[in-house]
Amino acid sequence: MSVVTEDLPEGKRQRIEVSELFRRYGTAAIFLVLVIGAASQSQAFLTERNVMNVLRQVAPTGIMAVGMLFVILTRGIDLSVGSLLALGSVSCALTAAAGSGTPVAVAAAVGAGAAAGIVTGVLVAYAELPPFVITLAMMTAARGSALILASGQPIMMGDPGEALTDFGSGFVLGVPQPVILMFAVFVVAGVVLNFTKFGRIVKAIGSNAEAVRLSGIAAPRYVMAVYVISGALAATAGIISASRTGVGSGSIGVGAELDVIAAVVIGGASLMGGRGGVVNTLLGALVMGVIGNIMNLADVPGYNQQVFMGGIIVVAMLLQYGARWLRR
């Protein structure tokens, strides 16, 4: 730098604030730009019917994204959620078909997801094995288990009881039930993350696991818990799928883990742990949903959609991380 005059503290200060704004509100900005753009291009976009449709499609991804957010906050990753979605849907359908009623069907599904989460959690938290590999193994094993349980066939739920049938297609105050569940999960997760000991320690582990351990905290319990939460929520997404279609299937949700991770990452969470929030994760999931919807409305072919989705992830990263360049 060849400037020999006074420094410019004012300009500097502003630049840093801008970078922080990008980091915090980048996802919201992307979301708003997409919504405004879509609304101005298409009459159909902002209709109640279409909005609810988008939200309904987003619900399973959104619910799984909450579990993934907890895992990623601890500096982990959970690749098994797509398979656990399938395992949840099969467990739900099998128990429902056997006529055991809604509560048991729900418990069976959530229990299966949580049990898988316990296995993953023990291996990651206590045996200290790398989460990427362990959840990759769980992804394969759970997929296989779901297909075995279902004998490779779609399982018809039969008549599982009114509550479960309604759940997939019913509305409360004009809002689809899965969407209400998704918002409820986000609200609870937000409270847990920001106002409880559990949430604080989860974030602290992702920031500096060793300092947490040396503060006399049983970190493995918390690491284990996040995988159980992630597994249970993935299975919950499976219940939504089963109740909506009336069928449990071992082959659904293939690749869903990538959408879920993308939603969390678009939401600004750091894969290095410790950084990420509930509101931005919800926005991340919505961004994914809105893009898909816009392109469907505009008749963009599926393959092109995938390419575009990849581009959007890069743009989101540029907004959040590119701001760092300004700080140099």
């Binding site: 420094d7 500097k12 200060r13 602290a204 410790g274």
Partner: protein, 501 residues
């Protein structure tokens, strides 16, 4: 002869905080120019400007009298400017040789030749480090040596040492000073940053003292005394760094460990600490001091040995057990083990005892927590923008105070401090000593590891000296001298001077 490098009127702000307020600094060939000042004075920032790592907001950088712009790390390196940072920038999974020749590794590596060259270079530095070893496995002190070798593997004209001896034992520091003398004779310009004033006075030709982003004085060891320099650094005379142990009463034995063992690093350590007592643990880097306290704290698994607290055997197999039993540890590596940099001071402070700030349902009582931490930070005289500021916004000394605050809050009976003032400036050091004294006065049993002998002598009621995984002897205040301590530390576990009580 004209200066090699001149920094003129350098300014730089970070988020509205003006870290450098118009600094003039120059370095002549063949001189050791010490850069002094408290942490946060701007020394490291200035050196990062010199290295091209950060761009100044204003000012000019002149090399051989000519202004150089633009200026970045590559330009700096091409002019032979090398900076050895406090925190090493080595690749931990690569070998010593690979790290040393990182910048010039050929596409196909001829291992024997590379290792031979590395060995020669290390030998010139006076260290016998196997070039094939993985850097991550080396002691911190030896990693530093590798860093220096890496800098010297290329033609250097200017070399900056940022607190090189903070992690070195006395013997290694002497060897480093030998290296510096050699470089100086070859006409290399050396910038030397250190908090150890006696060594600065011994080796430097000129001293520049910084305070709050300004240069407050340029002098030489002949023209100024240590007291003068301290006064310039802190803006007030430091009559006594160490608090007086008045009103402190040494009570019953609190901690007793017997025959602790782990591998060949800890080979049968027994020691005890009483309530209100400050016991020092001295010795060379690598003598097993850190390893020993980590065993007491349950951070590592011990092969053998017992731990008694107030006469009762304590089952300690994890830090959680230790904290519940009433033992706290201020670890050696502040940034990686002590504070959680991304989290607020508030969160860091209550981490070891969350019970008072959590209700029955697991919800945080944030108002209670804020009140508690604000009171504690006032008591510890923490300099911060408030308890919600992230720990990363604090200077090293204040980060250490946060770690201390954590154990003040946890209220454990035993507090172990591993190098509590490493990389901490003189002013903050005195404050940390006063806090340690305060802990002891409150009846806690305190065990302090330090490589600074004067610190041990100033602070401790007695000093245990470790060598090769054993307690080599004990010094009482009447015996305190660096010679005695070093004799014990270097006589490789000879017959103990006095059996550790």
């Amino acid at each position: 002869m004209g200066p090699l490098v001149e920094l003129k009127g350098i300014t730089r702000s970070f988020g509205g905080v003006r870290a450098l307020k118009g600094i003039d600094f120059d370095l002549r060939p063949g001189e050791v120019h010490a850069l002094l000042g408290e942490n946060g004075a701007g020394k490291s920032t200035l050196m990062r400007v010199l290295a091209g790592e950060i761009t100044p907001d204003g000012g000019a950088i002149l090399i051989d009298g000519a202004s150089v712009a633009p200026y970045d790390p590559r330009v700096a390196a091409s002019h032979g400017i090398a900076v050895i940072h406090q925190e090493t920038a080595l690749a931990p999974d690569l070998s010593v040789a690979e790290n040393i020749f990182m910048r010039e590794l050929p596409g196909i590596i001829a291992w024997p030749a590379l290792n031979r060259r590395a060995a020669v270079l290390l030998k010139q530095l006076g260290f016998a480090i196997d070039p094939r070893r993985t850097v991550g496995d080396l002691a911190v002190a030896h990693q530093q040596v590798v860093e220096i070798a890496k800098a010297l593997s290329q033609k250097v004209r200017v070399i900056v040492f940022d607190e090189p001896t903070a992690v070195l034992s006395t013997g290694d520091a002497e060897r480093l000073h030998g290296i510096i003398a050699g470089l100086r004779a070859e006409g290399v310009g050396i910038v030397y940053i250190s908090h150890r004033l006696e060594e600065v006075f011994r080796i430097s030709d000129r001293m520049t003292v910084m305070k709050d982003g300004r240069v407050v004085g340029v002098t030489t060891p002949r023209d100024a005394s240590v007291e003068d320099v301290i006064r310039m650094m802190v803006g007030r005379p430091l009559a006594a760094l160490f608090p007086k142990a008045e009103g402190r009463r040494i009570g019953d034995e609190v901690l007793r460990v017997a025959d602790l063992r782990r591998g060949n690093r800890v080979r049968g350590v027994s020691l005890s600490v009483r309530a209100g007592e400050i016991v020092g643990l001295g010795g060379l880097v690598g003598s097993g001091r850190t390893e020993t306290v980590r065993l007491i704290f349950g951070a590592d698994r011990r092969d053998d040995g017992t731990i008694h607290l107030r006469g009762e055997q304590a089952r300690i197999s994890s830090p959680l057990d230790a904290v519940l039993a009433g033992i706290g540890l201020v670890p050696e590596d502040r940034k990686h083990q002590g504070v959680i940099l991304d989290m607020p001071i508030r969160t860091n402070t209550t981490m070891a005892r969350l019970a008072p700030v959590v209700n029955a349902l697991g919800f945080l009582r944030l108002r209670v927590e804020r009140g508690l931490v604000e009171a504690l930070s006032k008591r510890l005289r923490l300099k911060s923008a408030g308890v919600d500021a992230p720990a990363s916004s604090l200077s090293g000394g204040n980060q250490q105070k946060v770690v201390l605050a954590k154990w003040f809050h946890a209220g454990t009976d035993v507090i172990i401090l591993d190098e509590p003032t490493r990389g901490v400036d003189v002013g903050a050091k005195a404050e940390i000593y006063a806090l340690i004294e305060e802990l002891a006065a409150a009846g806690r049993a305190v065990l302090v590891i330090s490589s600074e002998h004067q610190e041990l002598f100033g602070l401790c009621d007695r000093v245990l000296v470790m060598a090769e995984g054993r307690i080599a002897g004990e010094l009482q205040p009447a015996d305190y001298s660096e010679e005695r301590l070093l004799t014990l530390a270097m006589t490789r576990g000879a017959a103990p001077l006095r059996k550790a009580s």
